[in-house]
Symmetry: none
Subunit: 226 residues, 2 copies
DNA sequence: AAATGGAGTTAAATTTCGTTAAAAAGCTCT
DNA sequence: AGAGCTTTTTAACGAAATTTAACTCCATTT
């Protein structure tokens, strides 16, 4: 089931929450300070973040901003003892999906989590086994790219990258996301490697001028077609 | 802007809310009982419903269920004096997007409404795929600006900024909004950067004198055309 | 009209990306 | 195991996009 990143510095509450959510079949990673939480987010992928507002080192709001810069659409729920209005507003303007003020019941939290995940999920689709890219047909399973000019066998990396591009056809495929998905680690060298593969894919696709892999500076790539 | 269906039987609070939201540029239809609200919903289309839980004739929760049967994905926010947990859960299980307990501040409500609309919009609203700016045609997806004189490829930032200007054609695009949307963070340097891009866009557009990017001092920019 | 802060413009600096080629790592097959 | 192949990574360099800096100009306020 879904994987949740929990940032809560109150150890007791944190463990309580983590245990409860685990019992409800979520995978939970519990961190107790902002910096650690961010580090964890960089190295693993999550479906949802549950962030306390008051955290050591990096507060929840700043943390959410940083997390959003890495993965724009990840759902975030803030946990906060302060029911002060200012905080609420700051939370929402940071793009949070929800917040919940302490004290709250476990059940209420669960309902909110499920509501948000349902919403997020209903927009992500399942895998296609053939993608149409202009005059090309791409079969991710067999890693073959066909067109009227012939058939091109793709390497694993080429195929995976093209698959991600296809899933996000006409919208931005984020570099970090692609790197974390295909290369697992998104360091400098892997990023360079990905550039090389973009060049290769562009070469394969260049015979149809209606197909373009557009760079979105600092963000990622967009596969344009149709 | 967005059209809101407000169901609130407390006349004073209802009028207060309606006026406030109208002042914020929403269109508001105010109803004071559940049945009327439902009837109204059947005959007009809305972007969002704001429902009091306790309403004469049909209560808010049942109302939401009926409304959802008509339009499955319409965002609903419940207004409720009861902060009892049972209600909250019932609300969410009815598929509501949010609820807010009285007393709440107008500002808080506004932020919630905007958060939900932003979310709903990001999935449903179809971005125009061509904008006409005087003698130019602008294709935001491919980042291309065409005119009789030729075709200009725009960079990502140029394109995003022009897109925002087009969406707000002939009205003010606020600096802060643009900065938060495109640059995420609205600090001094990003503001400077945006100025640079305004200059670039002006250069691209200067061959048509009927097109102007007007500065509105201290507020933002207005794209004038037609 | 002087002061203040926002805006306009240009150029330099920095960062990110594109491309090619070479090096390294993985396979396969005898 | 190692020759010969493919795939992936690293390196290097040039190009493009974006940010920062510097300076000028303009609008608003006092």
């Amino acid at each position: 089931m879904a994987k949740i990143l929990l940032a809560e510095d109150d150890i007791n509450l944190g463990i309580l929450l983590a245990d409860y959510l685990k019992a409800k079949d979520f995978t939970v990673v519990h961190r107790t300070d902002g910096q650690e939480t961010l580090d964890t987010f960089r190295t693993e992928t999550f479906d949802l973040c549950l962030l306390d507002i008051m955290l050591p080192r990096i507060d929840g709001i700043s943390l959410a901003r940083k997390i959003r810069k890495i993965e724009k659409d990840i759902p975030v729920i803030f946990l906060t003892a302060k029911s002060l209005e200012k905080d609420k507003i700051e939370g929402f303007s940071a793009g949070a999906d929800d917040y919940i003020t302490k004290p709250f019941s476990m059940e209420e939290l669960l309902y909110r989590i499920e509501a948000i995940l349902r919403r997020a999920r209903s927009y992500s689709e399942e895998e296609a086994d053939v993608y149409t890219i202009g005059k090309f047909s791409f079969y991710p399973l067999t890693q073959i790219l066909n067109s009227d000019e012939g058939s091109q066998k793709l390497t694993t990396k080429e195929s995976e990258l093209l698959k991600l591009l296809c899933r996000n056809k006409n919208e931005v495929l984020e570099r970090n996301y692609a790197l974390r998905t295909i290369w697992v680690d998104d360091n400098y060298f892997n990023a360079r490697s990905m550039d090389v593969y973009i060049t290769k894919l562009r070469k394969y696709l260049k015979s149809d001028p209606s197909v373009t892999i557009l760079n979105v500076h600092g963000k990622g790539y967009k596969l344009l077609c149709e």
